[in-house]
């Protein structure tokens, strides 16, 4: 693993706007050809990180390499390798989809024929051929994002930054975007994405960094992060209080919710475990009304990691709310 070349590295990355510290010693290492998701609530510093890595904003301190170059010292070498799709669709609203792509081809000096060829190919790949001659105002949110991403890909970047690529998209468009990202990675491109959707990180990323207060509070694969927090359990609900009482006595180590007649049994939800649980209820002749399995998801991880450090209950609640959206 340690021999894999890194597409992006950052050590001790710092950035403050006035007194407001946005990044406070961020450490990153993204292996080539992988998807890295930077996960965090609004205001955690995700966009600032992308802006610094993509040469838009200068860092106050720390060392960065993107594609082997320092964005501060050699921005052109970095820009030649990256593609950036920002939070807000960066398309030219006064040009048609096709003209937008040709503009990018011209700025990449692809030449007229190659530019047209790539434009046609990308329109096809992103399902925009029918809308090619239309202005972006006629596009849906998902189409605009696809056009935006297609523009990013005109120059064949090796490293792609996606800043909240699916924020504001409906579920269908979100899944379409995920599929596109998966195809990109299959071609060996490195993707650095930020998201506030835990599911998105879980779906796409090889590694996930949880950003809070300007530094990573946890990092790993989705599975590794989930292992950080307990919380897997089976929940049994009973229709009548008598059955509930008996089950509570028969099953050891349970958490009780008397009001809801619900028992919570820690466990990983495997079939073997469920069978033994049901066998025990059967043996006692107790009938459960319903059974559900809860595995810890990234939400649990996120709350556990980002709330511990918070000292302000109001801010805490805001973080939870953001994360739930």
């Amino acid at each position: 693993m340690t021999t894999t070349p890194h597409a992006i590295t950052a050590t001790g990355l710092r950035k403050a706007y006035g007194d407001h510290v946005v990044l406070d010693g961020l450490e990153l290492a993204v292996a080539e050809g992988t998807v890295y998701a930077l996960l965090g609530p609004n205001g955690a510093g995700k966009t600032t990180t992308v802006q610094i890595l993509s040469t838009l904003v200068a860092a106050d301190g720390g060392h960065i390499t993107v594609g082997g170059h320092d964005p501060a010292r050699d921005p052109r070498a970095v820009r030649a390798q990256i593609g950036v799709t920002g939070q807000f669709a960066a398309v030219d609203a006064k040009l048609t989809g096709e003209e937008n792509l040709i503009l990018m081809a011209d700025l990449h000096h692809l030449g007229r024929q190659e530019g047209r060829r790539r434009t046609a190919g990308l329109l096809e790949q992103f399902g925009l051929t029918d809308a090619a001659k239309k202005l972006p105002e006629a596009y849906s949110g998902g189409m605009r994002r696809r056009l935006d991403l297609a523009m990013t890909l005109v120059g064949d970047p090796r490293i792609i930054f996606l800043d909240e690529p699916t924020t504001g998209l409906d579920p269908r468009s979100r899944h379409a975007m995920w599929q596109i990202v998966r195809e990109l990675v299959a071609d060996g491109v490195t993707v650095f994405l930020t998201t506030q959707y835990l599911e998105e990180a879980d779906q796409l990323a090889d590694r996930i960094g949880v950003l809070d207060g300007g530094r990573l509070v946890a990092e790993g694969t989705a599975e590794e992060l989930k292992r950080l927090v307990p919380g897997g359990h089976v929940r049994l609900r009973f229709a009548d209080p008598a059955a509930y009482e008996r089950a509570a006595r028969a099953l050891h180590g349970t958490a009780l919710d008397d009001e809801g007649l619900t028992l919570q049994i820690p466990g990983d939800g495997s079939a073997r475990e469920l069978k033994s649980l049901l066998d025990r209820l059967e043996a006692e002749a107790i009938e459960a009304e319903s059974l559900s399995v809860h595995t810890p998801d990234l939400d649990d991880v996120f709350f556990a990691l980002t709330t511990e450090r918070s000292h302000n209950p109001a801010a805490d609640a805001a973080v939870r709310k953001e994360a739930l959206r």
């Binding site: 052109r76 950036v84 920002g86 398309v91 040009l95 990018m104 700025l107």
Partner: protein, 258 residues
């Protein structure tokens, strides 16, 4: 390709983009022609008789010959509004961040706006000159003087466009950007565009004689109508070059900071 030829190619790409915008959305360009033409009609047909006798003996009925160079100059100032707006809307719409992360010449985005603005404004100026000719403007300029007129107007437009680009970069909203160049559009009035400066109250006259539009107006009038130019031409060119450099430096620094 060398760095310079990339810069030229990228600026040309951006110029094409801006001209396409202008063709597709002429609503910003139309006022550049329409306002000076309305002014021309007002000053020639409504105020012309009264103003004409004030301009000088023998000018009655030929006020159009006095005012037309001033009106033509006015068209250049309205062009700056559309440039400030188009620059500002680019900066606020996220597309500029895409341009900034591309490996293209840093100057290309602004060059495209400014060159596009110059082309648009000069096109409008030609239409205003045409309108002036239709209302009876009869310049006696030689082809060489026409060429000099075109050259001076190009310098004026270049200076105003870089200043406007800077205003567009520094404005936070498109509305603010469209208001920022308004003082520029009033400057010709406070010069010798409509009436000679010596008819003005002392304080205004002092301002009028030293502001850049007066030597430009006097030079245009001299080139087109054969009036005395004196050292106005030199002062006019110096103003244009100075303001171009000022606007360019300010705009580049605003863009690089942005």
């Amino acid at each position: 390709m060398s760095t310079l030829s990339y810069a030229v190619a990228d600026s040309a790409t951006m110029l094409r983009r801006n001209l396409r915008h202008a063709l597709r959305y002429p609503s910003m360009t139309i006022p550049v022609v329409a306002i000076p033409v309305v002014m021309l009609l007002l000053f020639v047909y409504v105020f012309g008789n009264a103003l004409g006798s004030g301009v000088g003996p023998g000018a009655e009925g030929h006020y159009v010959d006095y005012v037309a160079p001033g009106i033509i100059l006015m068209a250049t100032t309205y062009g700056s509004v559309s440039v400030a707006v188009s620059v500002c809307s680019d900066m606020t719409e996220g597309i500029v961040n895409r341009f900034r992360t591309l490996s293209i010449s840093r100057a290309a985005v602004l060059n495209g706006h400014v060159l596009g603005g110059v082309v648009q404004t000069l096109f409008s100026v030609v239409l205003v000159v045409g309108a002036a000719l239709l209302t009876g403007f009869r310049p006696n300029a030689t082809p060489l003087e026409w060429l000099a007129t075109a050259g001076l107007l190009t310098l004026v437009v270049l200076a105003l466009t870089w200043l406007a680009a800077d205003m567009g970069l520094r404005a936070r909203t498109v509305e603010a950007a469209s208001n920022a160049p308004t003082p520029l559009t009033f400057l010709p009035f406070l010069g010798s565009a409509i009436v000679p400066t010596d008819s003005m109250p002392t304080a205004v006259r002092w301002f009028a004689e030293y502001q850049p539009f007066t030597p430009v107006t006097e030079t245009l009038r001299g080139l087109l109508m054969g009036t005395e130019i004196g050292n106005s031409a030199l002062i006019a060119v110096a103003w244009c070059l100075g303001l171009t450099v000022l606007g360019y430096i300010r705009a580049r620094s605003a863009y690089d900071k942005g």
